[in-house]
Assembly symmetry: C2
Homo-oligomer: 149 residues x 2
DNA sequence: CGCCGATTGAGACTGGGTCTCGACAAGGCG
DNA sequence: CGCCTTGTCGAGACCCAGTCTCAATCGGCG
């Protein structure tokens, strides 16, 4: 995908927010950029080790937290209960996750705002936060005839 | 709340699905029914131990899994990343979770169906599954003036 | 170039959740 | 009513994600 763009985006985010541009952070940004779909922290740790990058687990988790906070990354809760991450734009949005290949597509509001308002209205809750996650099969996986499930 | 109803609902679900109605399962159903808002597996384990019910951890997790599968319980992913459970009706719906008291209110579709369709249409994905979670303050907590946050 | 504080890596630690295995009990059947 | 089969149980080992500590190191400004 746009590996280089993602990498620089992440690094730029670090820089902009006043964090140092260190070697390990660059490495993590690279690892993430190289990912197509969603990934878990364990994936990164494993790959970092496989590539003998000499990056500690803690460092990866810290970088992940930072990128989460900067909005470059978002955390997904897969139906299995696992936590995964996807790189994305730092604006409010949601994801459709492919259950075949794991790729995640960003989607905008799509009318959700109104739904949330309706719910707030109906329940009397002051909604502060919401999360919508969709799981399905992407066009490619549908075309190639169910690579899984 | 409707503790007795919840308990019997859970037990009936066990029975209906062909699972044995054992003492430990009854106990877990009771514990869950006694809960007002959402709770974690650890909560149940702690309470079971406090009440000296002599129920093993594994048993509680197993019961939880079963109830999840039967649709009597639903898993929530709190923003903190924790997993929590809420008792609910075994039909498709979503939850609004109070960030003050932890209570969860069930909500129906509220127009979400249309949003999902729109998204499916726009992205080309075949949506198989979706989850909407809302977090906010319930009417009570708003009235009593921010018990937290 | 040198300094100071942010950052790092190794590994201990925590906490949620799973697995194993021998013992036990639910409930169908005779 | 009592037996037998088989699902279920409890204890504890185990696994894995994620966090924390702390001394060593490095980035980048002056």
């Amino acid at each position: 995908m746009n590996a280089i763009d993602d990498t620089t985006a992440a690094l730029a985010a670090f820089d902009r927010a006043g964090y140092r541009l260190t070697g390990p952070r660059r490495a993590v940004a690279d690892l993430i950029a190289a990912r197509e779909g969603h990934f878990t922290a364990a994936d990164l740790v494993a790959e970092a080790r496989a590539r003998r990058l000499g990056i500690g687990r803690a460092t990866i988790f810290r970088a992940l937290d930072l990128l989460l906070e900067l909005g470059v990354l978002e955390r997904l809760d897969l139906p299995s209960g696992e936590h995964a991450y996807v790189g994305c734009e730092p604006i409010h949005h949601h994801h459709v996750v492919c259950s075949g290949c794991g790729r995640a597509t960003e989607i905008d509001d799509a009318g959700l705002r109104a739904v949330v308002d309706t719910i707030a209205d109906r329940t009397g809750y002051a909604i502060e936060n919401h999360r919508l996650e969709l799981f399905g099969r992407c066009p490619d996986c549908r075309a190639t005839g169910g690579a899984n499930s």
